[in-house]
């Protein structure tokens, strides 16, 4: 039987060009450096979003009591916390962590390309993102206070400064979102072009890893969805500053128009936030199970189906908004439909682990956590998709529970898996496994203690975004639970310290990583860790899909995509490995 080792090409060491520090690490056009820049920037925003969350949780657990080091959270500041927590997490943490970091880092490496199609646009995309982040952060500190209309910025609340007492802050929010949109567009164009044009010989579409499929489809969604948001916030800006009435009831304006525009962007957006996570998880689970992904083709179809259906479900955020109740029926049907491809994906992950030879490395633990928690989030979506049950649970903590099961239990778990999995490739050193496992265990436990009880609050009718639940008699019995959630949230926050320590310690002191520490099949593992500028000394040739684990054709339990088996090398000259 053949062995991989005997047939693999010797490790490439690309040409080294001497570059100044600034060209190499600051204004770099190398997709790997840009990915790493996005990583540091968006992790900083993740930490900021986390701090805001702890402050707002404090007020809910201990209403009116002074928070150590912060003082009493005032109502106006509370609304700012709710707004900015959501905004930072969605736009500046999860989305760039998935799409900024891993689309950038992985697409060229995994499809066998030397870089992105448009490296300069890529650099521009990052620096515009930085600007938009600075503007958003500035909105926290300006005169009049930070925006307080929610991350969904419902008009007229967001459109008329008198309604919130915030004007400059809300305007900066809008400007930041426009910049963010520009950054995202440049990224999307780049990712789509790169995937279509720059795949290595033999890398057919159906040999692409699911992470790349997901990032590719996500880029298409983002290309179409983000401009809608940008257009909507520009109209909002006009309402704010020029006295137009797009979203105001006067002169033919329509407050509901804002909601339609926002959610027509917003629902596709939530798939931007989850599809790449699903793709990453698929790669990690196959690796950890030492088995091909179960139902690869149906996984790809499910991604595409979700991407399509995602465009016709936005009204499920508006069941109680006053839109025609007939639409409530059609949006229920489309929303229910989208649960099906989501379910298919969960079953296929289980199928991948079935009869595997599971390795519980840290990335795999987070991937397993993802499957477990995303299932809860997907199932709670069905309660809300039911238009009649949603009458009761809309705008309650049930929604907050759902959001966090899909976005934290889902997306962020996948991001953690990705950080541990590709850290060795990015930085050439391994992260500490023991601390990784401790991080996982603490996160999983405190995560559930924080967010699962929110379902119970929601069932009790506990409204979201309220400053002081004890004001309501019917909510007073829930105050001990609120306190419990707050304490768990603080512990969940503390549970991230092992990640931070491990990350920085490993960056400088970690064990040197070999080229392929996880025994994976993807092309990124065929080059040195970290890969040289230009990635591949010779353009790789791809002979098979990315999930040939435990193939009967070789002794090892993995079989890289670029390793020719006996006889294949000759054939390739003619047909370049096309199926």
């Amino acid at each position: 039987m053949a062995t991989v080792e005997a047939m693999a090409a010797p490790l490439a060491h690309g040409h080294h060009e001497e570059m100044s520090f600034v060209r190499k690490y600051i204004f770099s056009t190398d997709h790997k450096i840009i990915g790493i820049q996005f990583l540091f920037a968006s992790l900083a925003f993740l930490a900021l979003g986390g701090v805001l969350a702890i402050m707002l949780r404090w007020q809910l657990g201990f209403p009116g009591e002074a928070m150590p080091g912060v003082g009493v959270v005032a109502p106006k500041f509370y609304n700012a916390l709710v707004t900015m927590h959501g905004t930072f997490m969605v736009f500046f943490a999860v989305m760039p962590l998935l799409v900024g970091v891993y689309a950038n880092y992985l697409i060229p490496l995994k499809i066998g390309a030397p870089d992105m199609a448009f490296p300069r646009l890529n650099m521009l995309s990052f620096w515009i993102f930085v600007q938009s982040g600075i503007v958003m952060t500035a909105s926290l500190f300006v005169e009049g206070g930070a925006p307080g209309a929610g991350w969904t910025a419902y008009a007229p609340l967001s459109a008329v400064p008198q309604y919130t007492g915030v004007s400059l802050g809300q305007q900066l929010w809008i400007i930041s979102i426009v910049l963010f949109g520009a950054s995202s567009l440049l990224g999307s164009v780049n990712y789509i072009t790169t995937v279509i044009n720059m795949r290595a010989p033999g890398m057919t579409l159906f040999r692409m890893p699911l992470s790349i499929w997901a990032l590719f489809i996500t880029a298409i969604i983002a290309l179409l969805a983000v401009p809608i948001l940008a257009a909507a916030v520009i109209l909002l800006f006009f309402d704010q500053t020029l006295g137009t009435t797009f979203f105001l009831p006067a002169d033919g304006g329509q407050p509901l128009l804002w909601q339609h525009l926002f959610w027509f962007f917003g629902h596709p957006e939530v798939y931007i936030l989850i599809l790449p996570a699903m793709g990453i998880i698929s790669d990690v689970i196959a690796n950890g199970s030492r088995k091909p992904v179960f139902g690869y083709h149906s996984m790809v179809l499910a991604i595409i189906a979700i991407a399509f259906l995602g465009w016709i479900t936005w009204g499920h955020h508006m069941f109680q908004s006053g839109m025609n109740p007939l639409l409530g029926t059609s949006f229920m049907i489309s929303t229910m439909a989208i649960a099906i491809p989501s379910a298919i994906k969960v079953f296929n992950w289980l199928g991948t682990m079935w009869r595997g030879n599971l390795r519980f490395h840290t990335p795999m633990l987070f991937a397993i956590g993802f499957v477990s928690l995303f299932t809860i989030g997907g199932l709670s979506g069905i309660f809300m998709a039911s238009n009649s049950v949603d009458i009761f649970i809309h705008d309650t903590y049930f929604i907050v529970a759902h959001i966090h099961y899909v976005l934290f239990g889902g997306s962020l778990m996948a991001i953690f898996a990705a950080i541990y999995f590709w850290f060795p490739k990015m930085f050439g050193r391994m992260m500490n496994e023991a601390w990784g496992k401790i991080h996982f265990a603490l996160t999983f436990i405190f995560y559930n203690l924080t967010f699962f009880p929110m379902h119970i609050l929601g069932m009790g009718g506990h409204m979201r975004r309220i400053y002081d639940p004890t004001q309501y008699e019917f909510l007073q019995p829930y105050q001990p639970l609120n306190k419990f959630i707050t304490i768990s949230a603080i512990l969940l926050f503390v549970a991230q310290l092992p990640l931070i320590a491990n990350f920085f310690w490993s960056l400088f002191r970690g064990k040197k990583a070999e080229a392929n520490p996880w025994r994976d099949n993807g092309l990124e593992w065929t080059v040195a860790s970290p890969p040289p500028h230009g990635n591949f000394a010779v353009t790789p040739i791809v002979y098979r899909g990315p999930y040939e684990f435990s193939s009967p054709e070789v002794e090892e339990d993995y079989l890289p995509q670029d390793v020719p088996l006996n006889g294949e090398r000759e054939v390739v000259g003619a047909g370049v490995g096309e199926e």
């Binding site: 109502p75 106006k76 609304n79 209309a149 007229p156 609340l157 008329v160 309604y163 007492g165 105001l248 009831p249 006067a250 407050p255 030492r290 091909p292 179960f294 139902g295 690869y296 083709h297 109680q320 908004s321 006053g322 109740p325 029926t329 229920m332 439909a337 099906i340 298919i344 079953f347 296929n348 289980l350 199928g351 682990m353 009869r355 030879n357 599971l358 390795r359 477990s372 299932t375 199932l379 709670s380 309660f383 039911s386 238009n387 009649s388 009458i391 009761f392 309650t396 119970i456 069932m459 009790g460 009718g461 975004r465 004001q471 019995p477 829930y478 684990f549 435990s550 193939s551 339990d557």
Partner: protein, 218 residues
């Protein structure tokens, strides 16, 4: 402490039933997935010298786990639709209801009553703040709007939630089934005092309510 707040409107029980049905269905799926997951983690944990089975998938399995969720979901959707149209379809609002006007504004609810003549829009209408008085066992339909931003009329015990939107007349109804006082909350973020925008619904015996209405709310 009950899981869902005590139900006190004509359709609350039906809505709750759907909630519990969905909980049962999703609960079974949830337990099924988590148990399978843990079972696989234990059974297929990596051991030296073992090799994973090289399986790439199964069309039969894909069909099964597409069709079963689809069937469950159609069932849930059909059941939901019944209650939805009962609660929200304006063509099916109960006849002979008491009609009120509700206006939401930062940060109060104003409720306008028809007065002794039972007609809104006449001289004897009168308005009260943050307290909605209604008769028991008689449907109440209200025309709602907002003077400023979007608010949402939420009475947990009645399972009613309907946004109040400036420039729009959103109609909603409920029929209280038990005499008593129930909290009314604003469920849509509406500004600094959103969390304090509360009121109550006082459900009175019918004759008492008629007397109150005839006495112009004195």
């Amino acid at each position: 402490m009950d899981w869902l707040p005590g139900a006190a409107s004509s359709y609350a029980a039906e809505l709750d039933t759907i909630f519990w049905v969905i909980l049962a269905v999703t609960g079974i799926v949830l337990v099924g997935v988590q148990v399978t997951l843990v079972y696989f983690l234990v059974k297929y944990r990596g051991r030296e010298g073992r090799r994973a089975s090289y399986v790439e998938g199964s069309t039969k399995a894909e069909v099964i786990w597409t069709v079963i969720p689809a069937v469950l979901i159609v069932g849930i959707a059909v059941a939901s639709q019944r209650v939805w149209s009962q609660v929200k379809n304006p063509d099916r609002f109960p006849a002979d209801a008491l009609e009120l006007n509700v206006e939401a504004r930062q940060f109060a609810w104003s409720i306008t009553y028809p007065g002794p003549d039972g007609e809104l829009g006449t001289e004897d209408d009168f308005t009260r703040y943050n307290e909605m008085r209604v008769p028991v066992n008689r449907p109440v339909v209200f025309n709602m709007t907002s003077a400023d931003v979007v608010h949402s009329f939420f009475v947990p015990a009645f399972r009613i939630k309907q946004d109040a939107v400036p420039g729009l007349n959103t109609r909603a109804w409920f029929e209280a089934t038990e005499v008593g006082e129930y909290e009314l909350a604003c469920a849509e973020l509406c500004g600094v005092a959103h969390g304090l925008m509360k009121g109550k619904v006082v459900v009175l015996p019918q004759d008492e309510f008629e007397g109150w209405l005839a006495g112009l709310g004195e």
